[in-house]
């Protein structure tokens, strides 16, 4: 590909201090460990993993919502280039006009004391993107229509809406400032299946209409398979596999990806219990195992896995994995 990536992450590390000590440095918890990935413009990039795998932290690091310990994140479109880690206050504000977040829980994300119109207009006012009230109203109406909310909805308060409608309001607020890049962190996890499909379709049509790039964070592989064109799998802060969706689901290489796929409960009652089950639980990130981090649960683990950290290798075009055995 000759196209330049919109987001380029190079050896990113995010660490949090574990408690405080009187002298010296406290022990650090490494939530994201040496992650490198590129997100192309217009891509629907999926990030999957269990809870505690660091996927949310990675998403937040890209938005500079958590401090970056080391490594580089660059954001580059046709007009600007930002080194996300080194942004000063004013530049950070400009960057956030371009990179936005959709939250998981539409019940917690909307202020109960504001009307829907005010909720959607708030980013425009805070960022000073519009001068007059008429201009603000016009942009709010425009984005609301794109998210299938009508004028009547704008006058009401969030309590009058169902989960799916609230998530549409939340999406409208995210998109009102015309961002290029959106992190959707478990944005359909709290919704019922019948509504979930509706929101997924909406995100897809908005991406086509507005030319957005998405980082879609989810624990649900079947949702990711449907909506994303590229998927990366995370385990304990590191990437274990990444490939275009089709390749990953047709030909998963890393034992962790295979286990995740086979753990999805099948809709066919005749297909019971023949899945490859994973033993144990994800270890604490405060005390990660040496070597390959997955070796404690890996059904194929060898001696080497317990000592050496596996390299991130290209298996076939655009398909990467970090495992000694593939």
């Amino acid at each position: 590909m000759t196209e330049k990536p919109l987001i380029r992450i190079n050896k990113l590390n995010v660490e949090f201090p574990l408690g405080r000590t009187l002298f010296g440095k406290p022990p650090m918890l490494r939530a994201v460990n040496d992650v490198s990935l590129d997100i192309m413009p217009g891509q629907f990039y999926g990030l999957v993993g269990e809870s505690g795998s660091g996927k949310t932290t990675l998403g937040r690091a890209i938005l500079r919502a958590v401090p970056i310990s080391s490594g580089e994140i660059t954001f580059e479109d046709s007009n600007v280039k930002y080194n996300v880690g080194g942004l000063a206050k004013k530049e950070l504000k400009n960057y956030r006009k371009l990179a936005q977040l959709i939250f998981q829980d539409p019940y917690a994300a909307l202020s109960p004391r504001m009307t829907v119109r005010d909720i959607i207009a708030e980013p425009l006012e805070v960022m000073g993107l519009t001068q007059t009230r008429e201009e603000t109203d016009e942009r709010v109406r425009d984005i609301a229509a794109k998210c299938r909310l009508n004028l009547e909805h704008l006058r009401r308060f969030p309590h009058a809406f169902s989960g799916g409608q609230r998530q549409r309001i939340s999406i409208a607020r995210t998109l009102v400032c015309n961002p290029n890049f959106v992190v959707a962190d478990e944005s359909v996890a709290a919704l019922d299946v019948s509504i979930q499909a509706d929101i997924l379709n909406l995100l897809q049509s908005l991406q086509n209409q507005l030319g957005l790039t998405f980082l879609f964070i989810s624990h649900d592989l079947s949702v990711v398979a449907h909506i994303c064109d590229h998927v990366a799998v995370m385990y304990l802060g590191t990437l274990v596999e990444s490939a275009p969706t089709r390749k990953l689901f047709d030909n998963p290489s890393h034992p962790y990806t295979k286990a995740l796929l086979s753990a999805i409960p099948s809709l066919d009652p005749d297909d019971r219990g023949n899945a490859q089950k994973l033993e144990g639980e994800i270890p604490s990130p405060a005390n990660p195992p040496p070597g390959c981090k997955f070796h404690t649960r890996c059904p194929m683990a060898e001696d080497r896995c317990r000592k050496e950290v596996p390299q991130w290798r290209e298996l076939s075009e655009d398909h990467f994995a970090a495992c000694h055995l593939v």
């Binding site: 269990e50 809870s51 799916g164 299946v193 019948s194 499909a197 079947s222 409960p265 899945a275």
Partner: protein
């Protein structure tokens, strides 16, 4: 002989806005050794139905006079809704009926050890001594696959991981040897890999203890994996019920079909997702006639909005309440 029989359960909540119908004409039965799956979206009344089996609904709930919940035990039947005092209710609250909740962190008391809570309930429900209760509790913790059970027994809920807490919850619910186990979204808060472990464990335990399980979930995949029979709920009514294979392979009710179509499937990645149109109506604006007619793609103009469809037999032991299906199970 069915172990638990629910007939014509009608439940309303008294609120400032008037009576709100939560459950309407719900009937089902579960046999010993059987898993009945209860599926539905949020607001469909599945948790409220489960809680009425233990009379755990708040004091503003009103059961209609024809509602009946019968429990068959060795020493005679129990009419659950006629139980009044907390002392009488012990039999359905942890005695013959136990419950596993969705969020194990919220269901354990944070300031008491796991062991203390397990022993406490055994002392209430059985005639065991404290020592025997403690021994049984540790044994149960081992049985559900908790390593180092002796140590875990003395720990607090926050010291265990999510999967382990849910295992401890199951151990606690099963230690009184209940006849009926109610599992309300027991795996929803867990990761898929842990969910698979917990589902396996529950399947083993049904075989071993031979109890009846009412398994509540919104996830049809989980239902396909554990249930023998399934009942689909929408706005307080059971719209379809039958053996799990029948219902998932040849669904009759438009709502069940809609749920299945809306689900992303790994073996059909190119098929577009079809959401069920519209949103679940607010309980204050309960639609007349068939409750699903406001969102139904197969709605019949003159019937569905005025009269309530009756339960129709659409296959062996397979029922649906819909005007658009006849007894062959196909659209009329």
């Amino acid at each position: 002989m069915s172990l638990l029989k629910v007939e014509n359960l009608n439940l309303q909540f008294r609120t400032d806005e008037g009576l709100i119908t939560a459950v309407e004409n719900v009937s089902f039965e579960i046999n010993a050794g059987e898993v009945l799956g209860l599926v539905g979206e949020s607001g469909s009344g599945k948790s409220v139905t489960a809680k009425s089996l233990m009379q755990l609904n708040p004091s503003n709930s009103v059961y209609s006079p024809e509602s009946s919940i019968k429990l068959e035990l060795e020493n005679g039947g129990v009419d659950v809704l006629s139980l009044k005092s907390p002392r009488e209710l012990v039999v359905v609250r942890g005695g013959a009926v136990s419950m596993i909740f969705q969020e194990p962190m919220a269901s354990f008391a944070p300031a008491l050890t796991i062991g203390y809570q397990m022993v406490e309930q055994l002392m209430i429900h059985t005639s065991m001594s404290k020592k025997e209760s403690a021994a049984l509790s540790v044994e149960m913790l081992e049985r559900v696959g908790i390593s180092d059970a002796g140590k875990r027994f003395h720990q607090y809920a926050f010291e265990l991981s999510g999967g382990m807490r849910q295992r401890a919850m199951i151990a606690m619910a099963l230690s009184t040897k209940p006849k009926v186990l109610i599992a309300d979204e027991p795996t929803t808060a867990l990761d898929v890999t842990i969910q698979a472990q917990v589902l396996d464990l529950m399947k083993d335990l049904v075989k071993e203890f031979g109890m009846a399980i009412l398994f509540i979930t919104h996830d049809l995949g989980v239902i396909a994996q554990v249930a023998d029979r399934v009942a689909v709920m929408y706005l307080g009514r059971i719209v379809e019920s039958g053996p799990v294979r029948e219902v998932l392979h040849s669904p009759s009710h438009p709502y069940t079909k809609g749920l299945l179509h809306a689900l992303p499937k790994l073996d059909a990645l190119d098929e577009p997702l079809t959401p069920i149109p519209g949103d679940i109506p607010s309980p204050l604006e309960r639609p007349p006639g068939c409750v699903f007619h406001t969102r139904c793609p197969e709605v019949l103009a003159d019937r569905c909005n005025s009269s309530v469809p009756q339960r129709t037999n659409v296959g062996q032991d397979h029922f649906a309440s819909c005007f658009a299906v006849d007894s062959t199970g196909k659209a009329a």
